[in-house]
Symmetry: C2
Subunit: 652 residues, 2 copies
């Protein structure tokens, strides 16, 4: 199953159009600027993705999460989205908790969590929405906000009535059907709509058959697919599907899978959902109820066996997992089923956003390579996104740094962890060089901690950067403080596990790139050295005041990553854009202060050292244009050190 997810997209985009066709009859949009995008998955609606997967017999999975209680919980959940997103879910969904201000702008609201999953994690997301006890205006406002934030899918639920004495309101939202109708009425076909199914009947329904009729009403009102409540026996679900089909429900029905993860969580869930745990399961669990590990292990086994039966039945196109915001059990079940994408093919070398307005985006400046969420955040107000080429971006209008303190732009690590990694106390600039060097080498620092992140790199070294490890270590040790780099690549297969991206059968290319902070003394020597490397090397050198020294065209971007694929135009996803570099520069310098200097007391020597670097160092980027040759950038740095080491007056 590895890579199947990505492959399907390509195959079907081809098979849509192969064979004999009479030309000239297409009614598609004719804008010359918009090429069919690289990855069909980025443009299709969820219902269409499902349709394609069903047609190709390619099973999928989806993951349900609930919103976190705290801001740090939100940071953790978003990291989990990234990790679980890499396994290739078709979508995730986020539950709606009326008591938790779910439609607000809080970092922890359902709305913001779902929108973050779409915009920053690139995940197709379904937002739950309950209608019970809500006014029409409030519902419409929620839907408008969801639309604005890039959400395209709604799970329409009734929700639990608040208070004991709930009665139906005339013309109000009494059932999920009312919400489905309202969404269709107010938003036409904009949202894909999911509704809930109850394999054993809704606990409040008069009968199983009555509940099935309600489900039919919801689908007839305009729902596109059904996700079911959890259950414990495959036959429960399969009978339910059969009954649905019998009364004319034809849309996809996804079984809700709940891997048992503990005795108490199971008891609580069962109580809430008014389900009965089958005898054969209780018999296994009761004896081991105090052995968490054994229960988890059984839960995985039980879920895998049940899913195998479901998938083998031919009635189940995809599996929906109730994750309880945990990773281990769900991932293990998916691994054992062969549904977890161990090595998902990247459509582009950077993490794409799933916001509909970004669907054509396929070019970005390289500067944010390690901070894709920051890039998405700072460009969120753009109306259109570069595709094909970056173009002339004389005023790219990056968002200001004033709104900087949203949780996803902060370091994921707490202050104490950062101090352990970066040093409780800095002695001099050399202490800083050591932090960078330890980050590169992965060695522990004197206090015994590994440096797992830097202000410019929230994650450990990328596998690609690892290719340059030895060279990077050498230069960081001497105060060339690297924050971004890529090796040159001359036509590696697009399937290359480290540098590959894009569709099968293609070739990817890169120009060597190196970006670093370094002292003004070094810059003086560097500029001398760079004369020898004209026009092979392009450079931009800038300090915090914005003094910009360059040998590049002031407006002309330089493509540094590109790919050639069968039957397609060239894709060039990263560029060195001189204008954007000035916006990145502000962010890159600010991170010294915001993430590092502020760890220390005002006026403390440590803080003054970071402040000194911020005030006096230059940010340098170098591109070696001659990509088929060995990169000369290391030699450039070497030459700089040689020049610096030479006795004054000696020939350079």
């Amino acid at each position: 199953m590895v890579n199947q997810r990505a492959d399907v997209g390509w195959q079907s985009s081809k098979s849509d159009s192969s064979g004999v066709s009479n030309s000239g009859e297409s009614s598609k949009e004719s804008s010359r600027c918009s090429t069919p995008v690289l990855d069909t998955d980025r443009t299709d609606r969820l219902r269409d993705k499902m349709k394609r997967r069903i047609e190709s017999g390619d099973h999928w999975f989806s993951l349900e999460f609930f919103p976190p209680r705290t801001a740090s919980g939100a940071v953790n959940l978003i990291s989990r989205f990234d990790r679980m997103g890499s396994g290739g879910p078709l979508f995730i969904d986020v539950t709606w908790h009326p008591a938790g201000d779910p439609g607000s702008d809080k970092e922890t609201s359902s709305m913001i969590i779902a929108s973050t999953a779409v915009n920053y994690c690139g995940l197709e997301s379904v937002l739950h929405l309950t209608c019970c006890n809500q006014t029409k205006e409030k519902i419409t406002a929620h839907l408008n906000k969801a639309k604005r934030l890039g959400l395209k899918n709604i799970m329409a639920l009734r929700g639990d009535p608040v208070g004991e004495d709930w009665v139906e309101e005339d013309g109000g939202f009494n059932y999920a059907t009312d919400l489905v109708k309202h969404i269709r009425c107010e938003f036409d076909d904009y949202f894909d709509i999911c509704v809930a199914g109850y394999p054993t009947g809704h606990p409040e329904a008069e009968s199983y058959d009555d509940d099935l009729r309600h489900l039919k009403e919801k689908v007839d009102a305009g729902a596109h697919f059904i996700v079911t409540q959890l259950f414990f026996r495959a036959e429960t679900f399969l009978r339910f599907v059969k009954d649905c089909r019998a009364i004319g429900i034809t849309c996809p029905i996804l079984p809700g899978i709940f891997p048992i993860q503990g005795y108490h969580s199971l008891r609580q869930l069962v109580k809430l959902s008014k389900l009965e745990v089958p005898e054969e399961i209780m018999q296994v669990i009761e004896p081991i109820k105090d052995n968490d590990a054994a229960i988890r292990s059984y839960g995985i086994h039980q879920a895998v066996e049940m899913c195998k039966v479901l998938l083998a039945s031919g009635e189940v196109p995809g599996l929906h997992f109730y994750t309880l915001n945990r990773e281990v059990a769900t991932i293990e079940v998916l691994r054992q089923l062969g549904l977890w994408a161990e090595d998902p093919r990247r459509p582009l070398p950077w993490a794409v956003s799933a916001h509909p307005k970004r669907k054509v985006e396929d070019v970005r400046p390289i500067f944010w390579a390690s901070r894709p969420k920051s890039y998405i955040y700072r460009t969120q107000d753009w109306d259109d996104f570069p595709n094909g080429r970056w173009g002339n971006s004389s005023s790219p209008a990056f968002g200001e740094l004033t709104d900087y303190y949203l949780f996803y732009l902060k370091s994921k690590s707490p202050k104490e962890a950062l101090l352990q990694m970066w040093g409780d106390e800095l002695m001099n600039e050399g202490s800083v060089y050591e932090v960078f060097t330890n980050y590169i080498t992965g060695q522990t620092n004197p206090s015994g901690h590994k440096v797992m992140c830097l202000p410019w790199n929230d994650d450990p070294l990328a596998p690609e950067t690892n290719l340059l490890k030895d060279e990077l270590e050498k230069v960081n040790r001497r105060g060339v403080l690297t924050i971004n780099s890529q090796p040159n690549i001359n036509g590696k297969p697009s399937s290359d596990p480290i540098v590959g991206w894009g569709p099968a059968g293609g070739y990817v290319f890169q120009k060597a790139y190196l970006e670093f902070f370094t002292s003004s003394e070094n810059v003086t020597a560097l500029l001398q050295v760079l004369k020898k490397y004209e026009p092979r090397v392009n450079y931009h050198i800038v300090n915090v005041q914005g003094k910009n020294i360059t040998n590049a065209h002031e407006m002309q971007p330089n493509a540094v990553t590109w790919g050639i694929f069968p039957g397609r135009e060239i894709i060039q996803p990263t560029v060195v854009d001189p204008v954007s570099f000035m916006s990145w520069k502000d962010e890159a310098f600010a991170l010294w202060i915001e993430q590092w200097a502020k760890l220390y007391e005002d006026e403390s020597p440590s803080r003054m050292i970071i402040q000194y670097i911020h005030d006096n160092y230059f940010l340098v980027n170098l591109v070696d244009n001659d990509f088929p040759l060995d990169s000369c950038l290391w030699q450039v740095i070497e030459d700089m050190f040689t020049l610096l080491d030479a006795p004054p007056g000696s020939p350079s």
Copy 2:
């Protein structure tokens, strides 16, 4: 001097922006779609090009032509534009003959000839315009038309008064100054304006000094540069420049060079222009006046020597040649001066148009590779041109074939020559295969003639196609009638003399491409064979009715030529666009009939053979996507023949 012309463009585009600059102050246009174009020469105004060349000390030349008398003269002149354009003139100019309906739509009018030079030959062109005896309305109409046709430069002249009793009109156009003022007044800064200077004074001027004052008036009214009347001694011109500078004329002054090409043409010219030929020249010429070759040889020598003095003076940025529509003498003088670009670097792999609205164009379908003028013609009504990528061209609106009979779309060769090349009488389809084969091999046909062109290829085989000669010969002999092809190229330097294009220091790439007509029997076998080459080979196969068989995306273009250059985004100048292929198909099939079948009598066997091919053959294009490997396209054809040769029922 070889290549200097092209190099300067790149250098200066860089030097404009190098060094220290504070960013964020740029006021240039901010449209994201428009990247700074590849070749500065394509966007700069003539006056700016001159400025850059003057600053870099890079001498140029320009060429003056007069409009032809006949349509076939026009065809010849345009071929001459192509040949002389390849030597790298900064501009050409076309004279205005009031008696010859110069502003009309006739193939031979000054207006159409100048516009053809701009649009179809990619030459920066200056249109002469005389104002004497013209109404203001007429002049404005001419200028509006020139602007619409893509002309950006006007040589403003008084012209010769018609009739003996000419008197100045109040408020009319009595002098070139009036015309210059009118152009400025009505068209603001749109046109670059050239005016005439008379190194020995205008024959009708009261005095040399008086004439200089008139010239100063013309420049003050808004002219950008001066071209002088011809002269025979360098010192005549140098004194004139000195006098101009003395009275405050600061614009470029270009000497008019007239290489003496014959005794009688010299006499006539001298009479018309009321010039005196210096004694030292007459002394040489008179004794050899009946020896044309000797006079031409002397003319070249005399011009070269005079030009050397002019260029060495430091007062002459460029030389303007009165060609009399002849090539040999002017080219020889330029060669001896080192100004003729022997190997002009191509900015793109196809001939660019100089129409201002096409300045950003850098992508075209490959189908018109041998018929660039036809492509320009059929896209002349487009408002914007693809750059960066071809994009989604569901309705590219190519001009219909009904307007097909403009002179530049006809074969350059007369009917008799075509019959000699393609056969007075065809015996069968094999006779046609032979014509194609002889075109490829360059061998003479049975009647002793070389096949120098085909309906789809007005010129002999391109050097690049020559790389494929042996393979092409083999397949044409068997009825795979190739009309377009390119080898795969995996990163050759952009300076490569055969396949190189674009700025220095880059690398160019190509996917192998093959396009041919072949019988439906062959196509049946080919389709069988192509299954083995999925997804490596993309194909489009279409007959005259438009039945289209393909394994490619119906809307997705496939880039088949691209280049990577220092400090730039990727350039991908040619694509296989499925939609455009349908427009090309109409043209490609029509050429069988229009250029070939119609050479023969109605109902004649020869005509019926061509008609049969037109009605029954398919047009096929193949792309091998795996450009780093040896092209597999020849193997595809080989496999097709093997399958056809196999006894029926044998395993395929």
